[in-house]
């Protein structure tokens, strides 16, 4: 943008600075992940190894999947406060019915995705605030989870255990899985022609309607995708923990929101990034326990660390936008 074509409005400088700010903001997730990694390497160099990463990123896959699930609703300007208990419900189904009666288990899980799709339709048709609806649903899922599995227990299906304990050469499985998740979702949401419509529904719904698209359909698709990735997250979680508990996913609601925001997503406007969301989830997974143990921070303060990281990254984002303005 060095030469301004004659006759056009001479306003290319705000554009390039806006683009620069956007680039900087999109680098932020990778930067915060790098910082956490450097901190770990500095505190305990031995952690940077095949075994160390396998251990530290143990829970990264379910967190990344839950974050992606949350990202889909956020790209449609909604929020899901029930994803945590939903992951717990899926976990309970996985550890019981999916092992003992696979057909029933599959039907129930597909039905759960269907419930998500219906919620999307309900929220759109009745113009409901998704926060309240999903807050209510969080109780529904938790109640169902307790009904399915009243006491902690159950066992993951063998094929799932085998999958989650897969040990590929050189690169630990969680890293490969994160790469695959990020690549698949990035392609689906950012590169396909219907992905454009889904993101557009968050960016300017009125324009989409005027172009003849159904906003009911975009909302249903986004919620169904959230349900799908919630199911994947719950199954992955049980594949790692081997047994379930009705409260196992409760912390995921907040982790998932934090992951999307850390990854450069915004609550409104359809501005989300699947790659950023996965990076954000990895950052949170790393920061959640190992880093703090290395830093001799008592476990009491581990929850606070998540809050603090969130606040620091958001503050950095504000600083960037301010300077570029």
């Amino acid at each position: 943008m060095t030469a301004i074509a004659p006759g056009t409005t001479p306003t290319s400088s705000p554009r390039s600075s806006a683009a620069r700010a956007r680039l900087l903001r999109s680098l932020l997730p990778a930067l915060s992940l790098a910082l956490v990694l450097i901190a770990i390497a500095w505190l305990n160099p031995r952690a940077i190894s095949y075994f160390g990463f396998s251990l530290m990123l143990n829970l990264a896959i379910p967190i990344a999947l839950a974050t992606i699930a949350q990202m889909f609703v956020i790209s449609g300007n909604e929020l899901d406060l029930s994803i945590g208990t939903f992951v717990g419900f899926v976990g309970c189904v996985t550890a019981t019915w999916l092992k003992d009666a696979p057909l029933l288990g599959v039907i129930v899980l597909i039905g759960a995705i269907g419930v998500y799709a219906l919620l999307g339709a309900l929220i759109h048709l009745r113009n409901l605030p998704s926060i309240v609806v999903t807050l209510g649903m969080s109780f529904v899922w938790q109640g169902l989870a307790i009904l399915v599995l009243p006491k902690p227990g159950g066992k993951a299906p063998d094929w799932l255990l085998a999958l989650m304990s897969f040990k590929p050469p050189f690169i630990p499985f969680p890293i490969i899985a994160a790469l695959v998740i990020a690549a698949v979702v990035h392609f689906g949401l950012m590169r396909t022609s219907y992905g454009v419509i889904l993101r557009g529904s968050g960016g300017n719904p009125a324009a989409l309607r005027r172009a003849g698209w159904s906003l009911l359909r975009t909302k249903i698709v986004l919620f169904a995708l959230t349900g799908l990735f919630g199911v994947l997250s719950g199954m992955a979680l049980i594949g790692i923990t081997t047994s379930a508990d009705a409260n196992i996913g409760n912390g995921y609601t907040l982790l998932a929101i934090a992951g999307v925001i850390l990854g450069g997503g915004e609550f409104v406007g359809g501005r989300v990034s699947p790659i950023g969301a996965v990076l954000g989830a990895l950052t949170l997974a790393l920061a959640a326990s190992p880093l703090l143990t290395f830093m001799h921070i008592p476990p009491d303060w581990q929850v606070a660390a998540n809050g603090a990281i969130l606040i620091i990254v958001l503050a950095a984002r504000v600083l960037i936008s301010r300077r570029e303005r």
């Binding site: 113009n127 605030p129 609806v133 209510g136 529904v140 009904l147 303060w301």
Partner: protein, 315 residues
């Protein structure tokens, strides 16, 4: 007839009707036994939901996206602070209450500071704050099982003719809140901001101060609630506030306050709180499991918001 009609037009009447129905269902199940005691117990428990519910109501009335997710953590920390300051001594009750109040006010102020300084949605601001408060509470209240001073515990459980004194005080407080909402500049400002924040600013409403006051008020009410809960249950613990996240939002919604903002309803908070408490009592009386109880609570909230959501769409 016109009286019935005008009553039916009040959105809060439905929550009281619901509470009445649930109560009737329960005493018909028990054959009329324990009806009065149930009301007393319901009033005692509803008080705690009403106090935080009113705080949440003012916050939600500020408009879409405004919600205080830090209330449970706030209640937990304030209850610990109050018990520690009172230290089991009757002479320190007032100081302890003031400490809980100050703790809540500080949390509310920090919430708004995050919203304002980082320009982030209130959900994420109060969420990150609650992470940190939770850790402070865990660290501060470790191994803390200090009992409240006997005088304070007696006060929190004091009844006159079967009516809890706390409930009477809370009714007075809610009347005050209703007057503030309709007849004071602060309340009008909250309502104006909730309907249209930009129009409110252009009409000369002090938007920043009103939002700051509202978040601080919510924090203060959370703090007081924490202290009273610790007195009523004779002890503080980290999880004491957990159920008040959903409960505070649920009573606001069921009570007829618009989630889209700008329209609040104080009596409805009482009706909805009684409804929820009696509903739990009923399900316990029927002997249903915890799973069914959670399931039904969730479905009722989704059902109520689905029915109530329609009027907003007309705008």
């Amino acid at each position: 007839m016109t009286f019935v009609k005008s009553l039916a037009a009040k959105p809060w009447i439905w929550s009281f009707l619901g509470a009445l129905l649930v109560w009737l269902a329960t005493i018909s199940f028990t054959g009329g036994y324990g009806g009065g005691g149930m009301v007393t117990a319901a009033l005692s428990l509803a008080v705690f939901t009403v106090i935080v519910g009113v705080g949440q109501m003012f916050v939600i009335t500020l408009g879409p996206g405004n919600v205080d997710l830090s209330l449970p953590a706030n209640i937990g920390l304030a209850s610990a602070v109050a018990m520690k300051v009172m230290d089991g001594s009757d002479s320190m009750i007032v100081v302890g209450l003031l400490a809980a109040l100050a703790c809540g006010a500080a949390i509310g102020a920090v919430n708004y500071l995050l919203i304002w300084a980082l320009r982030i949605p209130p959900i994420i601001a109060t969420l990150s704050a609650s992470f940190i408060i939770q850790s402070i509470d865990i660290s501060y209240g470790r191994g803390l099982q200090i009992k409240p001073p006997p005088g304070f515990a007696d006060f929190a459980n004091w009844q006159i003719l079967g009516i809890p004194v706390l409930a009477i005080l809370t009714v007075l407080f809610t009347i005050g809140a209703a007057i503030a909402l309709q007849r004071m500049i602060y309340g009008r400002s909250v309502l104006a901001i909730g309907q249209n924040i930009r129009a409110a600013w252009l009409a000369g409403v002090n938007v920043g101060r009103t939002r700051f006051l509202t978040y601080t008020l919510s924090g203060v009410l959370g703090g007081i609630d924490g202290a009273l809960l610790a007195g009523y249950f004779r002890g503080a613990n980290v999880d004491i506030g957990n159920e008040y996240l959903l409960a505070s939002i649920a009573v606001v919604v069921i009570g007829g306050t618009s989630v889209a903002g700008g329209k609040a309803n104080v009596p409805g908070v009482w009706g909805a709180a009684l409804f929820l408490v009696l509903l739990l009592t009923m399900l316990n009386t029927f002997g249903v499991s915890a799973g069914v109880r959670l399931l039904l609570t969730g479905l009722i909230i989704v059902g109520v918001i689905t029915v109530a959501g329609g009027e907003k769409a007309s705008r």
